[in-house]
């Protein structure tokens, strides 16, 4: 019914799943991905809501013809680039070494 995996693969998956290293990998991944997802969603919705219902604030001019709305909008670009960069750094430093090690262990166990 579901996708088939051999007994050997199954055992390897189960062993890795129960390992401390995997628990640490998952903790690090979730620990970054979930809070940041909440953060950028709130930040984005705040922007949408402000564009709709806080127009006086958004219309305030900052410099010349550049108003708060434009700065806030460009801020969404900056935050997107920034969070993407932070995630890439986090993944390269904290996630990839563990996942590479576990992947190697899996390959060794399955191809034994």
């Amino acid at each position: 019914m579901v996708e088939e995996t051999s007994a050997q693969q199954h055992d390897a998956y189960e062993r890795i799943h129960a390992s401390d290293e995997f628990a640490e990998l998952k903790r690090r991944y979730i620990g970054f991905a979930f809070p940041w997802t909440v953060a950028f969603m709130v930040w984005y919705l705040l922007y949408v809501v402000a564009s709709n219902w806080a127009t006086d604030f958004m219309d305030t001019q900052v410099v010349g013809n550049i108003n708060v709305a434009l700065v806030f909008g460009l801020g969404q670009f900056v935050s997107t680039f920034l969070i993407a960069w932070l995630y890439a750094r986090h993944a390269n430093r904290s996630l990839d070494p563990i996942s590479a090690k576990l992947r190697a262990e899996y390959d060794e166990e399955v191809n034994r």
Partner: protein, 554 residues
């Protein structure tokens, strides 16, 4: 006098031979690429996933090429040119959405699936019902998107070549349809990907050029450009402030919130974007694809800001009127003509032709990606796994995929021709809403919730899909939307038909929570031990890539 006859009389047609030649050049180059790619396509993995041998950079360009449709290239700059700041609101949702793909979906999907969106669900659920549901949703989203693109193509090519007749539009739709069938059946994923890469390079190049030329007109002073746009548009400072389009009343404001939700959540559930992550060898390369895509798409949307406000600031009254008549689509092409030296000049003709050719390449790349996505799902999910229960040979599967591409292309052509003069711009927003309401809940639950099971997946996919489509059917975009300032019908049905009861154009604010809720209720009302046990395997595979599909080497 209709809008289009005004256009032909007003416009100078000196660019037409050049535009036509560039269109033909685009066609020849993409055909060449496709034939080259077909020689390297042997296995099913080659056909569906380009052998998983693209690099992160290449796939990043292809993702950007797949995502930035003519609707964003011409549509967003046009929306900014006409409604000022409110046009910009779109692009922000389109960009921020990529963080969902980056943080929650791309890498995990690459590790746990093979060819289609359904693979990831089928990993731990009952194959046949789940694959059927995911395939239905894939095909529905892709066909909606495809129809919008093809009807847009007919309109656009007739605008750009300034030949306005139903026959010309039909011919364009058939030609675009035939080309996309050719790319997909002959070139498979490899050919489609390269077409998208070439398109992304052309689009970025063309946009950078026009942006610099526009900014140069204002000595690179953004504030001066904005001031010019505010004055020239006739709306004054309001042009630079939110609210010109969506701030009319509470309904339009809630509608915008609803659209914003669908845009930000929908991207990570668009099947044609999801399957792009299978074309790279590792999850790390999938991550790098998204990072490249975010850079390209972000830079592009920043430039559309200049194109849109630049068009509002620089275009003459006549040209600005043409932009309004074309619902914004002509903003970028006419702006290119203006900064190239104005109508009648050689520079203007060259730049106009260039931007027209870029728009054409854009359409071709996007429709090819959509056709490939639906054909893959029909062949891999429905034929190989539901009908043949996993016993089909690779050869048969690819043969069916090619046949499905021809059939889907034919259906798209057959539906686009009668729809060509209807207002179907809402279909793109609907595709995002369905993706956000049906696909995203299922994908996210499957990856992060052990208890999630087959019933939950079916309820969220069918529930999200049905609610989004039904709400739109009874919304003002289908009937009873009235007419705009120019007397143009805002609904799909003629103005005297009105059966709408849902007040919003965008269903997301209702259908997205509903999709998540149904997935939740479906799951907790039944226990599926197999799905729960298999979750551990999915969890390990998704996060580490252990046992994930590898690249093929020739």
């Amino acid at each position: 006098m209709s809008a289009s006859t005004t256009l032909i009389q007003a416009a100078d047609t000196s660019h037409r031979p050049l535009t036509t030649s560039l269109f033909i050049l685009v066609v020849l180059v993409t055909i060449g690429i496709t034939i080259w790619a077909s020689r390297q396509t042997k296995t099913a993995t080659d056909y569906y996933a380009g052998g998983r041998s693209f690099t992160g950079v290449q796939n990043g360009f292809a993702v950007a090429g797949d995502y930035m449709s003519a609707a964003s290239f011409l549509g967003i700059s046009g929306a900014i040119a006409l409604t000022g700041y409110d046009g910009f609101l779109y692009s922000i949702g389109f960009l921020v959405a990529w963080l969902v793909a980056l943080l929650l979906v791309a890498e995990l999907l690459r590790n746990s699936g093979r060819y289609t969106m359904a693979d990831q669900l089928a990993f731990r659920m009952r194959q046949r019902p789940v694959r059927t549901a995911a395939s239905v949703s894939t095909v529905v989203v892709s066909i909606f998107y495809l129809l919008a693109q093809m009807v847009g193509a007919g309109l656009l090519v007739s605008l750009l070549l300034e030949v306005d007749s139903d026959a010309a539009k039909n011919l364009t739709i058939v030609a675009v349809g035939a080309l996309m069938i050719f790319y997909v059946t002959v070139g498979g994923m490899k050919g489609t990907t390269w077409v998208q890469i070439v398109k992304a390079v052309l689009l970025m190049g063309g946009t950078i050029l026009i942006t610099i030329l526009v900014l140069a007109q204002f000595d690179f002073n953004i504030s001066a450009m904005l001031g010019g746009a505010a004055d020239n548009s006739g709306a004054g400072q309001a042009f630079l402030e939110p609210g010109l389009k969506y701030g009319v009343d509470t309904t339009t404001k809630i509608d915008f919130l609803s659209l914003g939700l669908a845009l930000v959540l929908g991207t990570a559930g668009l099947p044609h974007i999801l399957i792009r992550f299978y074309t790279v060898p590792t999850a790390k390369q999938a991550r790098s694809s998204v990072l490249w895509a975010i850079s390209l798409i972000g830079a592009f949307y920043l430039m559309t800001l200049v194109l849109g406000f630049g068009a509002a600031a620089l275009l003459s009254e006549g040209a600005y009127g043409q932009v309004a008549d074309s619902a914004g689509n002509l903003a970028s092409p006419l702006l290119a003509e203006e900064v190239g030296g104005g109508p009648g000049s050689n520079g203007g003709a060259i730049l106009l032709a260039l931007i027209a050719a870029v728009a054409f390449a854009t359409i071709l790349a996007v429709v090819a990606g959509l056709t490939l996505t639906s054909a893959s799902s029909v062949a891999h999910d429905i034929y190989a796994n539901v009908i043949r229960r996993g016993k089909a040979t690779e050869r048969d599967e690819v043969k069916v995929a090619r046949g499905a591409a021809i059939a889907i292309g034919a259906v798209a052509i057959a539906l686009s021709i009668p729809a060509k003069n209807l207002n179907i711009a809402f279909l793109v927003a609907l595709a995002f809403a369905v993706a956000a309401s049906a696909n995203v809940p299922a994908l996210v639950y499957n990856l992060f919730w052990k208890r999630f099971n087959t019933r939950g997946a079916l309820w969220s996919i069918y529930g999200g899909l049905t609610s989004a489509v039904v709400l739109v059917f009874f919304s003002p975009v289908v009937s009873g939307g009235g007419v705009d300032a120019n007397g143009k019908n805002l609904s799909l049905f003629p103005t005297d038909v009105d059966f709408h009861w849902f007040p919003l154009d965008n269903p997301g604010i209702v259908s997205i929570p509903l999709g998540f809720l149904l997935g939740f209720i479906g799951t907790i009302t039944v226990r599926d031990r197999t799905a729960e046990e298999k979750y551990d395997e999915l969890d390990v595979r998704a996060l580490t890539g252990a046992g994930a599909e590898k690249a093929t080497s020739h």
